[in-house]
């Protein structure tokens, strides 16, 4: 899955949705990053990281950073 396709838009949307769904957790970004690690297949995470993160909400952006740093 490469950046710049419809799929990357889907992944950005999914990441934003997850961040929003977990926004009330004690550490929303950590929860979102953990959720993505638990449920996303590695190539989806790779494709998300390849997008550069444009279009991510602040929480999702922070989760993105944690995934990238992992």
């Amino acid at each position: 899955m490469s950046a710049g396709t419809d799929t990357s838009a889907t992944l950005i949307r999914m990441a934003n949705q997850i961040a929003q769904g977990l926004a009330r957790e004690a550490d929303p970004a950590a929860a979102a990053a953990e959720h993505i690690r638990l449920y996303w297949e590695p190539r989806m995470i790779k494709a998300l990281l390849a997008t550069g993160g444009a279009g991510l909400s602040p929480i999702a952006q922070e989760a993105y950073g944690r995934l990238a740093g992992a």
């Binding site: 419809d6 799929t7 997850i18 638990l38 449920y39 996303w40």
Partner: protein
């Protein structure tokens, strides 16, 4: 063994714990207090003659045949209406009784045709049996006025009604009333003119309110109501108990057979899910299993524009294995995946995910629960610690308040719907349970005979979380929460955090009414009733899960149950009504890409090690792709081979054009099914499947009840589905050696702690088991979280209402929501191939009169339904069942293609598609859309099968 109907004790079992001893015909018998003399006699195999009594119905006392003599009592009381008393001395056979019974029977027979030899009930007729039992040898009455020679009503496709054979015992009417709860049948006229009517005098059985559940046919003691299959084939000669393959209720039936021919399915009285009841699907709609369109030979083709070529099993499996191995060699294991079926057995599902994980070498396995109850798994796991409903079905008998949200039990789970209706009508002698319905549409439960919902919250589609949060607001701010329960059983700090959130003024019913369209006072009253009305149980369905906030809604439901202490005992709980017969089982069996059987995450090294040791392979530790992501990856070229067992993703998954594009991009699509389904239009290998009548295995129903499926006939395709999967695995070189599904269950039990105590032997002996069955719960678990939550402390999770991104606007001003109807089942692959289509031949669009008038639409008009995703056409039904602004349709027919219109928005946590909310416009139409025409053409071309060459066929 010759055919024996199930024993009939005449009157229902008493649940009293007090025991009473009496004497019947000189023999002592001890039975629970409240038992009838008739039933007590039956317990010692003394069969008192009877006609109007049967143990599925309350005693009626009308036939005057079951008379007995009791010492110290005058006259001859009816044994069916006389309860036992301590020390009672009963005589069931005396010269006086014999004379009375013979006289009564003589009257019955004087008005009954004597065509026993050619009668459909010959050999299985209670009237015939009782005439024999009372020693009737002659009928002295002259043949004058009788009821003979009346026309039969053959309007129902599955059973005939012959009024000439009716003895007016009212068993059919009482079954319709007490068992089914439809109250369609009635006794028309009085005295000699009494006649059973299907409804109004002008109604026949097809046109009346009758739902064709078969309860009346089962109750009829003569051939007045008899299955047409019995009339055509003859009486069965053996019966095998098995489990229905339709919905998640999991009714058990006696498959009554003659040789390998199925004569009829009769609901099994000892079935713990259905207690002898059935619906039109399970009881009658099994003809698809022998339908002419069933494919029984394997087929292959190199590309989907070619016609199918019928080949041998060896060639088909070799072809498939070569393709899969080639993809794996070139693109890696992650390019392969599989989809397990919620229609198949636990053992078959387990094998498919094992093939994917151990054979293909990826975790790319998913199941149709992705599109239905995946949010249930997520939500209940987060809050309670396990992904399943908390109660057994019988628990509803002890409910005082029933809250139904996003479910339509009388259509989608009809046998449980009838059970629930008995509680709602209070016919068990207790005050009726109160009812709250939260649904955008006025489902039948809201108002049906003798039932009226106390509150119907007709919310705007997509606002479930707002409604439930507002209910929580009322419960917390009005001090109705059960703090003692919460302190003992839940995390108090998390509760306080949650309580603070729901108490915010922005979560009040008044504030949220603008969003939900539910009047604040109605919502407040419903919340108060749920919190304070006694045992309160929540039942929910896909109207909860199939939303962008599906998982949040499940969590919100769990929060409400915990906050009010409605968890951990009978009569309460959180009950997902599962759609498919084995959707619970397929989830339990490790069908999701992120977890192994028993809901254990794939990243858990010790769990993985258990499987690795047993299977002798290394398992990838990362989750695999979900169905929509498989399709995305296929379009991008990194996912190239898919094995689909018993699932029609092209019809059942959202955004058909995207599914079609994904399938079309793959190198090898293997469809394993009974029919050339819609997905098979894009397949390269077709492996014929077997029906539930043709295999052994187990299904797990919505109450976690594991029940045996028993093979009653040889598979038409030659192999049960588990054998086909094993053959494919072996063609890929895996060397599997299962000889019976029981060995697969042994493997499941070995590897899955919640199934540790399950085996075919035990299921055979005990009838069913509800998981967890293990050291802590050796006899299974009808109710969960009794002493504590599976996860320890129950967890409150804050659920913010987040509106869906799917918005109405000037172009798409209406909201479409979808659902099911009683007579059809899901994508209709089975039921459309039965006479059930007489009730529902096409999907219709329900539209409110105001919206219809604005658009000049009348009932029966063709209308175009368009959304941002696509458009389709279907006929309109103008009705105020739906609110203004909301339209509704079913998705049972492929030519309608409701999923052309639904979007690819999905649940935030699980990607369960948002089927229940689509912004649409409706307008007049002249006929099918271009998409429908193109689709038909593609499907027609794709289904071509090349003429069979002599050597190609086995």
């Amino acid at each position: 063994m010759t055919y024996q109907p199930q024993a009939d004790f005449g009157t229902p079992e008493s649940r009293s714990t007090e025991q009473v001893t009496l004497t019947i015909d000189g023999r002592p018998v001890t039975v629970p207090a409240g038992t009838s003399v008739m039933r007590a006699a039956a317990e010692i195999e003394c069969s008192i003659p009877k006609l109007c009594a049967t143990d599925s119905l309350e005693s009626f006392g009308s036939c005057r045949l079951c008379l007995v003599e009791i010492d110290g009592r005058r006259g001859t009381p009816a044994s069916c209406t006389t309860p036992v008393e301590p020390g009672m001395v009963v005589h069931t056979q005396t010269p006086h009784l014999q004379k009375l019974r013979k006289g009564v029977m003589e009257l019955y027979i004087s008005d009954h045709p004597l065509d026993c030899l050619t009668c459909a009930a010959n050999g299985d007729c209670e009237l015939q049996d009782q005439a024999g039992a009372v020693g009737l040898r002659e009928v002295r009455y002259p043949v004058e006025a009788t009821h003979l020679g009346q026309a039969k009503d053959q309007s129902n496709p599955y059973f005939d009604f012959d009024p000439s054979k009716c003895i007016a015992c009212s068993r059919c009417i009482r079954a319709c009333d007490e068992v089914q709860g439809t109250l369609a049948l009635t006794m028309q006229g009085r005295g000699f003119d009494s006649k059973i009517s299907a409804g109004l005098a002008s109604d026949n059985f097809l046109g009346s309110e009758c739902v064709s559940c078969g309860a009346c046919v089962q109750a009829c003691p003569t051939a007045t109501l008899v299955e047409r299959s019995v009339a055509e084939i003859g009486t069965p000669d053996r019966a095998v108990v098995t489990t229905c393959a339709y919905c998640g209720v999991g009714c058990t039936f006696r498959a009554e057979m003659r040789g390998e021919q199925l004569v009829r399915m009769v609901p099994w009285k000892d079935g713990k899910a259905n207690h002898g009841h059935s619906c039109v699907k399970g009881r009658f709609a099994w003809g698809y299993a022998q339908h002419a369109e069933r494919i029984t030979e394997p087929m292959i083709r190199d590309s989907i524009d070619q016609p199918w070529r019928v080949v041998s099993w060896d060639e088909a499996l070799g072809f498939a294995a070569t393709k899969l191995n080639a993809i794996k060699a070139r693109y890696g294991a992650t390019a392969l995946g599989g989809i397990t079926s919620s229609r198949c057995t636990n053992e078959e599902t387990f094998l498919v995910q094992k093939l994917v994980r151990a054979g293909f070498g990826s975790n790319n396995v998913d199941t149709c629960a992705r599109v239905c109850h995946s949010p249930t798994g997520y939500g209940l796991n987060k809050t309670f610690g396990t992904s399943a409903g908390t109660q057994d079905f019988d628990s509803v008998d002890e409910s005082d308040v029933i809250l139904v949200i996003g479910a339509n039990p009388t259509d989608a789970h009809p046998v449980f719907g009838s059970h629930m209706k008995r509680r709602l009508r209070g016919i068990d002698g207790r005050p009726p349970a109160k009812l709250i319905v939260i649904d955008p549409r006025r489902i039948d439960l809201v108002r049906s005979p003798h039932i009226e919902a106390d509150h119907h919250l007709a919310l705007r589609p997509g606002t479930n979380v707002a409604v439930l949060t507002a209910m929580a607001h009322v419960i917390v701010t009005e001090g109705l929460a059960d703090e003692a329960f919460i302190r003992e059983r839940c995390d108090w700090d998390e509760y306080q955090h949650w309580a603070e959130f729901v108490s915010l003024p922005t979560n009040s019913p008044e504030h949220l009414a603008a969003v939900t369209q539910v009047p604040a006072e109605t919502l407040r009253a419903a919340a108060r009733l749920y919190a304070t009305g006694g045992n309160a149980a929540i039942y929910y369905g896909l109207g909860v899960t199939e939303h962008s906030q599906g998982s949040s809604t499940v969590i919100a439901i769990a929060n409400l149950a915990m906050a009010t202490g409605n968890i951990g005992r009978r009569g309460v709980g959180v009950n997902p009504l599962r759609g498919q017969n084995n959707v619970q089982g397929s989830c339990d069996m490790g069908s999701f890409p992120h977890e192994l059987s028993g809901y254990r995450h794939i990243s858990n090294a010790s769990v993985r090690a258990l499987f690795e040791q047993d299977w002798g392979v290394e398992l990838p530790p990362e989750p695999g792709l979900r169905i929509p992501n498989m399709l995305d990856a296929a379009v991008e070229g990194t996912f190239r081979g898919l094995y689909v067992q018993g699932e029609d993703i092209l019809q059942s998954d959202p955004n058909i054009q995207h599914v079609a594009a994904g399938l079309a991009a793959m190198d090898c699509v293997i469809v394993h099914d009974l029919f050339l389904n819609e997905t098979a239009n894009y397949a390269h290998v077709f492996l014929p499947g077997s029906s539930f009548l043709e295999k052994d295995g187990t299904f797990t129903n919505a109450e976690r009840r594991i029940q045996l499926v028993r093979k009653v006939m040889t598979p038409l395709n030659g192999m049960a589905d588990w054998e086909v999967t094993q053959a494919l695995a072996n063609a890929m070189g895996l060397g599997w050696t299962y000889t019976h599904p029981s060995e697969i269950m042994d493997e499941i039990a070995r590897l899955t702690p919640t199934f540790a105590g399950v085996s075919f032997d035990r299921l055979d002996k005990e009838g069913s088991l509800q998981w967890p069955v293990n050291e802590a719960h050796p006899d299974g678990s009808p109710i969960m979280h009794v002493d504590g939550f599976v996860r320890g402390k129950g967890r409150f999770v804050v659920t913010d209402y987040i509106p869906t991104e799917e918005k109405t606007g000037p172009r798409f001003p209406l909201l479409l929501t979808t659902g099911r109807i009683l007579s059809q089942y899901n994508v209709g692959a089975q039921t459309r191939r039965t006479e059930n289509s007489l009730w529902h031949g096409e999907d219709q669009l329900e539209i409110h009169p105001a919206d219809a008038e604005d658009r000049g639409i009348r009932t029966g008009d063709w209308v175009k339904l368009s959304s941002r995703a696509g458009e389709t056409t279907l006929r309109a039904l103008v009705t105020d069942r739906v609110a203004p602004g909301v339209v509704y349709t079913t998705f049972h027919h492929p030519d309608t293609q409701a999923n052309v219109v639904t979007t690819d928005y999905s649940d935030w946590a699980t990607n369960c598609p948002e089927y229940k909310v689509t912004a649409v416009q409706v307008g007049a139409s002249n006929g099918p859309t271009d998409w429908q025409r193109d689709y038909d053409e593609q499907a027609r071309r794709s289904r071509r099968i090349a003429p069979v060459e002599a050597e190609a066929a086995e």
